[in-house]
Each structure stands twice: as structure tokens, then as C-alpha cells.
Amino acid sequence: MTFSTKANALWEYANPKKFLATTERVLPFFWASAAACLAVGLIWGFFFTPDDYRQGATVKIIYLHVPAALLAINAWFMMLLTSLIWLIRRHHVSALAARAAAPVGVVMTLIALATGAIWGQPMWGTWWAWDPRLTSFLILFLFYLGYIALWEAIENPDTAADLTSVLCLVGSVFAILSRYAVNFWNQGLHQGASVMRIEAVTGGDTQEKVSNVFFYPLLVCIVGFVLLFVALVLYRTGTEIRARRIRALLARERVGA
């Protein structure tokens, strides 16, 4: 009983107007706390952490790289979830939230890729290696691009929501499949193409204390990125809702004319 009322209360936010009103109220909080966490985390990480014994100052990149990588993946999961909600319960806000999240996901993927590439140059001696993790990220990037391109290409919003949702579903399955395929592929002929595995360079297991030194600011940064993500998605969803409303109003004018 309690569960169902709670669930119903949650679904109420699928009402566009209510969603807008609520986000209007909570957004300032999200913006502010995201900014605060990011500022604290990044300044802490950048100015007040020591260099790693093997990686030197480059370890500071971790404060951007890891949160971005985390969010890049989780943004896709969020899109998968909201797509499912759209397909099953047909709440428009849900579909629009997926649409709003995709560009944020792309930027996160890009940041992870860019910082990784910049990091790889001194660490591995190359900008890019076909390491399984990097490769599956690249594939994720392609999935994002396709998803966004499909949204942009279709005019009717409901059609677009349906098609992109199915694409997100099918794409998720294939993305996971790709991950396994890529893992298999790069162990295949060439074992350990990159000597420095990602796990090896954090030094997490050997140097507990150093790890903590890096860990806390990293945690703050992750929280900051998550808050920023939430703020951006809520804000952008509001924008998408209004854009849809504009479409409907224009159509209405046309019918009236």
C-alpha cells in the first residue's frame, strides 16, 4: 500500500507542468551544490594533493577523468531506464529526459576520452591504444552519436521517442556484447599491448595512504559531477518540454487559422 502510493506520488512528476514547477524550485540548489563540490574537489585535487610516485603530477587528471568516465556510462543507463519508462508507461517527460541526457553523456564521454588521451601520451607513450576499456568507450561514443542523430532526424516527437527508445534498448544489448567482444579481441593475439594497466598506475593496492590522499578529493569531484549532471539533465528536460509546448502552440495557431 505504502509502496503504491509512493510510486504514484513519483509518477506525478511525469506531469510536465508539475515537473517544471518542481525543477524550478530545486534547480538552484543543484546548480549551487554542483558548483561548490566541483570547486572544492578540483581545487583540492589540483593544488593540495601530492604527486604520485610513478605518475608524477599527471595523477591530478584523475579528478576529471574518472568522474567523467563514470557519468558517461551511467548517463546511458539513465537513458535506458527512462526509455523503458516511456515505452511502458508512455510518460512524455521520461522520453524527453532521455533526449536531454544524451548530449550531456556525449560530453562526458568526450572528456573521458580527451583526458585519457592526454594522460596516455606521457604514461603509455601514445595518445591512443586499443585497450579494451578505451575501445569500448569509443563504441559508447558512437552509440551516443547515433542516438542523438536519430532524435534530430525525426520530426514527429512521439515517433522520435519511440524509435530512439527502441534503439537505446537494442543498443544497450549490443554495447554490452561489444564490451565482451573487445575484451576477447585484445587479449587474442596480443597479450598486454599496454604494459601499464590502468589498475597498476593508481597504485591503490600497494600504497594505501597515498591512495586515500587521492581518494577523498576524487570522491568530492565525483559527487560534483553527479550533481552537475542532475542539474543539467533537469534543466535541459525543462527546455525540451517547453520546446514541445512551443511546437504544440504553433500547431494550434495553425489549426485555428
Binding site: P16, K17, H92, N156, L249, R252
Partner: protein, 204 residues
């Protein structure tokens, strides 16, 4: 096989175009749908054919009984006239294409590639497809486009024969077909805009 439509509202591109439509189409009768350009005739016919869902309202008797012919004919230019017809005949599980060829005087063109037909000849081929569907309800969108006078007469004859066998037909057209049919003017059913304040309603 009566097609019954009650309180139907339909939308195109997410925008309501017609609302409150209701009519019966009984065996042996034809109904001509009229209305100015852009009112929503094509949308109505596509909805009846099951190609798009209605916004609200009910359609009964449309399941697997409708043969639809829209603005485009579904004709393959690289197949001959016979091959085109035979294909549709076997999709609909009917065997005989001879009557269809005869009804639209296509015998002389039977071995021609459909791509080499003139506009009117192509249209005649498209219409002859209706005869091989074996479906009782014909839903036709401007069927006589490009047809000359004698071909329009052929079409009228085909429709009359279909009606006399207990079929029925719903035809959207701007011209006079010479058929003895009731007329449904959809003009008065134009969808009224929702009030501006109906924020959520805009999401249908």
C-alpha cells in the same frame, strides 16, 4: 461487414486535424469523403486502414477487411504489369488476376514493365490491385487522379460491381465520380484547438 466509426478524432504529425467523426458504412454502399485540401481526408483513410492509431474514438469492423489505396500505388517499375498484380494476388491469397486485368483494360499492357506506363496507365494498374485483394471494404484516396474519362468510367463500373457483390467503398475525392453514393463532408469536423492553458494536454 459493416464498418462503424464513432466519435473518432485523428491527428497528423501530432496535431489533431479532425474530431467527432462518426458514420456507418454498410455492405453494398459507397461513401464519398469530401473536404477542402488539407482538411485531413488522407489522415482519416490511413487511420481507418490501421496505418496509424486514432487519437480517440472507435473503429469496428476494420480488422483485415480493408483494401487501402493511397496516393502512391505500390507499383514496382521493374516488374511487368502481370507480375505486379500476381504478387499482390498471392500476398492476399487470391489466385485469379484475369478479371482485374480485364476490368481496367490492362490486357494489352500485361507484359509491359510498369515503369514504362504513362501516369494514367499506372493508376489503372494501381486500382486493379483492389480486385485481387478480395477484401470487402475499399478505402481509396483520390483514385481517379490522372485518369481519362473512359478510365474513370471503368473505375465507376468496378466500384459498382464491387458494391453489388456486397462490398463497400469509402472514397476521398475532389471530382465527381458518377457514383450513386452518400457524401460525407468532413469540413465541419475540423478539430477545435485546445485552450491555451491546457499545458499537459499538448502532450496528447
Amino acid at each position: 461487414m459493416t464498418l462503424t466509426v464513432t466519435d473518432l478524432s485523428i491527428a497528423r504529425g501530432g496535431i489533431p486535424v479532425l474530431q467527432g467523426l462518426g458514420f456507418d458504412l454498410r455492405p453494398g454502399t459507397a461513401l464519398v469523403v469530401r473536404g477542402p485540401n488539407g482538411i485531413g481526408k488522407t489522415t482519416l483513410l490511413r487511420t481507418l486502414a490501421g496505418l496509424q492509431p486514432p487519437l480517440s474514438g472507435h473503429i469496428t469492423g476494420a480488422e483485415d477487411t480493408i483494401a487501402y489505396a493511397g496516393h502512391s500505388d505500390g507499383i514496382k517499375p521493374t516488374l511487368t504489369v502481370t507480375e505486379n498484380l500476381t504478387f499482390w494476388a498471392s500476398v492476399f491469397g487470391t489466385a485469379e488476376i484475369r478479371p482485374a486485368l480485364e476490368a481496367f483494360e490492362l490486357n494489352d499492357l500485361a507484359t509491359r514493365h510498369a515503369g514504362n506506363l504513362s501516369a494514367g496507365q499506372k493508376r489503372r494498374l494501381g486500382l486493379s490491385r483492389l480486385l485481387v485483394t478480395g477484401r470487402p471494404i475499399w478505402v481509396l484516396d483520390e483514385p481517379t487522379v490522372s485518369l481519362d474519362v473512359s478510365a474513370v468510367a471503368m473505375f465507376a463500373t468496378a466500384v459498382r460491381a464491387h458494391l453489388s457483390q456486397g462490398g463497400c467503398a469509402l472514397i476521398a475525392t475532389h471530382i465527381d465520380l458518377g457514383l450513386d453514393a452518400a457524401v460525407l463532408d468532413v469540413g465541419p469536423f475540423r478539430a477545435k484547438p485546445r485552450p491555451v492553458t491546457d499545458f499537459d494536454g499538448d502532450f496528447l
